[in-house]
């Protein structure tokens, strides 16, 4: 590596938000032709730091230098002009527009300075794709292409604007292992071409695979920067969390008994009227955790909606505890033994403006003793809530506190408390640990295993392969609306990844 001034230097960056110190005097540097990983758990400050670099936030203290010279990046426009491109975790693409339109937005080629020259845009996109060896259709609407392809569009967006530094924020969160490998190949190509890449992640194995150097952040502070050689997962985890971390959940072997949930040949339509679930059948027995693994968008959402009574299946049968509940609404299903931990706790799990007591009563407010003939008894809700909050160690408020005042982890505890305390026979958990820190994740995992050990059936739908491999007693892979494989928990991530993209064990999928 040459001894030039680093392509990028961040010194003493500090950023405060109300109630939280997101970045605490962070130092970070980036060399040319390197892939530098930024590692930390949720809430460590990685995204904030990069948003500052991209001009979306303004730092309270600190400075940024590029090639030795101090720069002020007060907007994304500035950042782009300085050659910084960012691929966000949640894509900044406009679904109804085409690939070409998305890429040239704000730097559009024109005819006569007035009209949009769409053909020129198309051509430029096609040229770039060829140079960097992507396969992309410039005319395709973004909402119709795969997630991996969308990510490539995002990368092309940055390259179109002559980025020399590329920031990737949790890029593999939505990819299968194979797609992740493809991405790494692309990153290697880009590195050879002279780019510097910052790779934000909380996935230890990937970071070890792709990065040249790794910087670990914890609670807003930079802990250490180390080279890839010699780093281990264990050590990185320790740096990330500050203590020894259990990477796999401790659990006793399962003793599954009678089936509590059985699904037969289920067909479900999505919002557009197209079939998203195409003949799914499986069982969840008492005392086992069944995980459904798959790339997002293969029917998981519609499957969960159908099981939870939020969507009418087209055909097929769902039985809960032996009773047929096909097509029944959410209230019925929840009353007949289903617990549902929804995917998005703030949008779907909790009414943030309600107190914790009111939230905990969301399913039971109609029943005695909480109400009678429509008349509500709020103090009984409060009493019930007090017990639950203690049981589930919810911190940050009492029964009369509004749910919005709690942290994400505690909010999820409230959702869990509500669902588990009702003693459902089947617990449906959708992305239960998304956005949580390690402590909260441990808590949720423990509770799910507890539920399973007390004789409930747990159906876990998750995009985090580590979580799936750690918790599940059986793993079902869903692909394009069908269950394509079933695996025991000792399957390798690779095999799982292949099944998730529709391949089979013997084949290697085409690139």
């Amino acid at each position: 590596m040459a001894e030039e001034p680093p392509a990028l230097e961040l010194r003493g960056i500090t950023k405060r938000f109300p109630g939280v110190l997101a970045n605490d005097h962070v130092d970070f540097d980036l060399r040319r032709r390197e892939v530098h990983a930024l590692l930390g758990e949720n809430g460590a400050g990685k995204s904030t730091l990069m948003n500052i670099l991209y001009g979306l936030y303004h730092p309270d203290e600190g400075e940024i230098r590029m090639r030795g010279k101090r720069v002020a990046l007060s907007s994304p426009k500035d950042a782009i002009e300085h050659g910084i491109g960012m691929v966000h975790q949640h894509f900044m693409l406009i679904p109804v527009m085409t690939v070409a339109e998305n890429i040239v937005l704000a730097s559009e080629p024109t005819t006569g300075g007035v009209f949009l020259d769409y053909d020129a845009a198309k051509k430029r996109v096609a040229d770039m794709a060829r140079t960097f060896k992507f396969a992309i259709d410039p005319d395709a609407r973004v909402e119709n292409i795969s997630v991996g392809q969308q990510q490539r569009v995002e990368i092309l967006k940055a390259l179109y604007r002559n980025a020399e530094i590329l920031i990737l924020d949790e890029p593999t969160a939505v990819l299968t292992p194979q797609e992740a490998h493809e991405l790494f190949e692309i990153l290697n190509n880009l590195r050879t071409e002279g780019l510097s890449i910052i790779f934000i992640s909380h996935k230890l194995n990937e970071v070890l695979e792709i990065a040249d150097r790794i910087t670990v952040l914890r609670r807003g502070k930079k802990i250490e920067t180390l080279p890839r050689e010699g780093a281990t997962e264990k050590e990185l985890a320790r740096l990330m969390v500050g203590r020894e971390v259990l990477l796999r959940v401790d659990k006793a072997p399962a003793h599954p008994a009678q089936p509590l949930l059985s699904v037969e040949d289920l067909h479900v339509l999505d919002d557009r009227g197209l079939e998203a679930v195409r003949g799914v059948s499986f069982e969840v027995r008492a005392g086992e955790i069944v995980a459904v693994a798959g790339v997002d968008g293969n029917g998981q959402t519609e499957l969960i909606d159908a099981l939870a009574g939020l969507r009418h299946p087209l055909s097929g049968r769902i039985a809960l505890g032996g009773e047929d509940v096909t097509g029944e609404n959410a209230r019925h299903v929840l009353d007949h033994g289903l617990g549902h931990i929804p995917e998005d706790r703030q949008r779907r799990g909790l009414v943030l403006e309600f107190t914790l007591a009111e939230n905990l009563a969301l399913h039971d407010f109609r029943k005695e003793p909480n109400s009678r003939f429509g008349w509500l008894f709020p103090n009984r809700l409060v009493r019930w809530a007090r017990r639950l909050l203690e049981q589930f160690d919810v911190r940050g408020g009492g029964p009369q506190t509004r749910a919005a005042a709690l942290s994400g982890g505690n909010q999820q505890k409230v959702v869990l408390a509500r669902e588990i305390a009702r003693e459902p026979s089947v617990l449906l958990a959708a992305q239960p640990t998304r956005g949580l820190d390690v402590g909260a994740i441990e808590f949720v995992h423990r509770r799910l295993v507890e539920a399973r050990d007390s004789g409930k059936g747990v159906l876990l739908v998750s995009l985090e392969l580590e979580e799936v491999l750690s918790l599940a007693d059986r793993i079902l892979v869903i692909y394009e609306g069908r269950i394509v494989e079933e695996y025991p928990p000792d399957v390798t991530e690779e095999e799982l990844g292949i099944a998730m993209t529709g391949g089979h064990r013997e084949e290697v999928p085409a690139a």
Binding site: D296, R331, V351, R366
Partner: protein, 410 residues
């Protein structure tokens, strides 16, 4: 190479509903913000007065205040001044009754996250039904007759509101547009009826559009003042009762729980098993019920018949109801106080009270409208008011935990 489509939706950029935002700011600042909002609106109104009439706005406001009758509350007022203040206060309270009810109508819908601009149509429908009920059944004894008229009118308002609620619940048609269309339909239908089938035959001879008068038994008794001079009728107590009922329903019933849940977060309510569609319908129907009740009370309390002005003034009443609900932050006490404020403002600027040399009454009516508009505008922009009060700095610590879209994912 997969062709698997759609990435997952990004997690909550949950937009707080109107109900949620109003609830937050009410909690955060209690009475300060509404008070400040009103003060600011009056201040700007005063600037308008100054600019256009070059007169001292404080004088104008003082005259207006005297016209409201609120000076009756001051013990040092005596004699004829007191008597005329009493009359004025009765007028104010009569109007406050109406505004409290229409305010409740809008407030209840807001609690469910719905914006009911259809108060005008619901009020008109309620009035029409009340008039007819009052005219028919003349032989009934007073109490059942009045009850019948009130119940029928309220139901009519509920139906009119329920149409919009049903459309929202079933096909998702936005209630702002549907209620406004229903308003105009009610207006024209009402005008047609009082010009045609419902027209008083004697009035028809002189080409005046007005209905017959309701039978004496159905008129609401007056408890303060002289019934010949339009004293305050017991409808005032109906309004007070309605405020209590509103509070009870919202905070002590399962229906209120569901309505609030849907209003704050319809998605989470749905996931919890609550029927969002049913609540949209019920909320609009109950909302319309309050507005229809307002129409009935006005008819049986002091109007006793409907003429053309009766139809056209409904728009004023309905929009004031919106201002009342917003200023009152959808709470019963707030609605009452705000209703008092706007009622006082209207009586104070009415033709018979305002001395034209101080301020021309026709202008005053429009001035009131400007002030109302400003109130609604400022209420909508809670940020502005808080900024002015510098509560912003103090509240910033709380806000980050309450409004999810403000909190960045680090």
């Amino acid at each position: 190479m997969t062709d698997a489509p759609q990435p997952s939706p990004k997690p909550a950029e949950a937009l707080p509903s109107v109900a949620a935002r109003l609830a937050f700011y009410q909690r955060a600042s209690g009475i300060v913000t509404p008070l400040l909002t009103a003060v600011l609106a009056f201040f700007i109104g005063g600037l308008v007065v100054l600019a256009t009439t070059h007169k001292n706005p404080l004088n104008t406001y003082k005259e207006i205040f005297n016209g409201t009758g609120l000076n009756w509350l001051f013990p040092w007022i005596h004699g004829t001044e007191r008597a005329s203040a009493a009359l004025n206060l009765q007028q104010t309270l009569i109007y406050a009754t109406t505004l409290a009810l229409t305010g409740l109508a809008v407030a209840f819908a807001f609690r469910c996250g719905l914006f009911n601009i259809g108060g005008q149509g619901q009020y008109i429908v309620g009035s029409l039904v009340a008039v007819q009920m009052g005219i028919w059944f003349a032989s009934m004894s007073p109490v059942p007759h009045v009850l019948l008229a009130i119940v029928a009118a309220s139901l009519a308002g509920a139906v009119w509101g329920g149409i919009a609620g049903f459309l929202r619940a079933s096909v998702g048609a936005h209630e702002v547009i549907t209620t406004i269309m229903l308003n105009w339909i009610a207006v024209w239908a009402g005008l047609y009826l009082i010009q045609g089938p419902l027209q008083d035959p004697r009035a028809a001879l002189v080409q005046v559009s007005v209905t017959k008068e309701v039978s004496p038994h159905s008129k609401l008794p007056v408890w303060w003042g002289n019934s010949a001079l339009q004293g305050l009728h017991i409808g005032f107590f109906v309004a007070l009762a309605a405020l209590v009922v509103y509070w009870l329903v919202v905070s002590r019933t399962t229906l209120g729980y569901e309505v609030r849940a849907v209003g704050f977060n319809a998605e989470a309510a749905r996931y919890g098993g609550i029927s969002v569609a049913r609540n949209y319908f019920l909320a609009m129907a109950i909302s319309g019920l309050f507005a229809g009740l307002a129409g009935a009370i006005d008819i049986l309390g002091w109007q006793f018949r409907i003429d053309q002005t009766g139809i056209t003034v409904a728009s004023q009443i309905a929009f004031l109801g919106i201002a009342v609900a917003l200023l009152g932050r959808n709470t019963p006490i707030g609605v009452f106080l705000a209703a008092m404020l706007f009622a006082a403002l209207t009586t104070g600027t009415s033709t018979r009270n305002l001395d034209p040399s101080v301020f021309r009454p026709e202008l005053a009516g429009n001035l009131t409208r400007i002030i109302q508009g400003l109130v609604v505008l400022f209420v909508g922009a809670d940020l502005l008011i808080l900024y002015i009060w510098r509560l912003r700095r103090k509240l910033k610590l709380d806000r980050s935990k309450v409004l999810p879209q403000e909190v960045p994912q680090a």
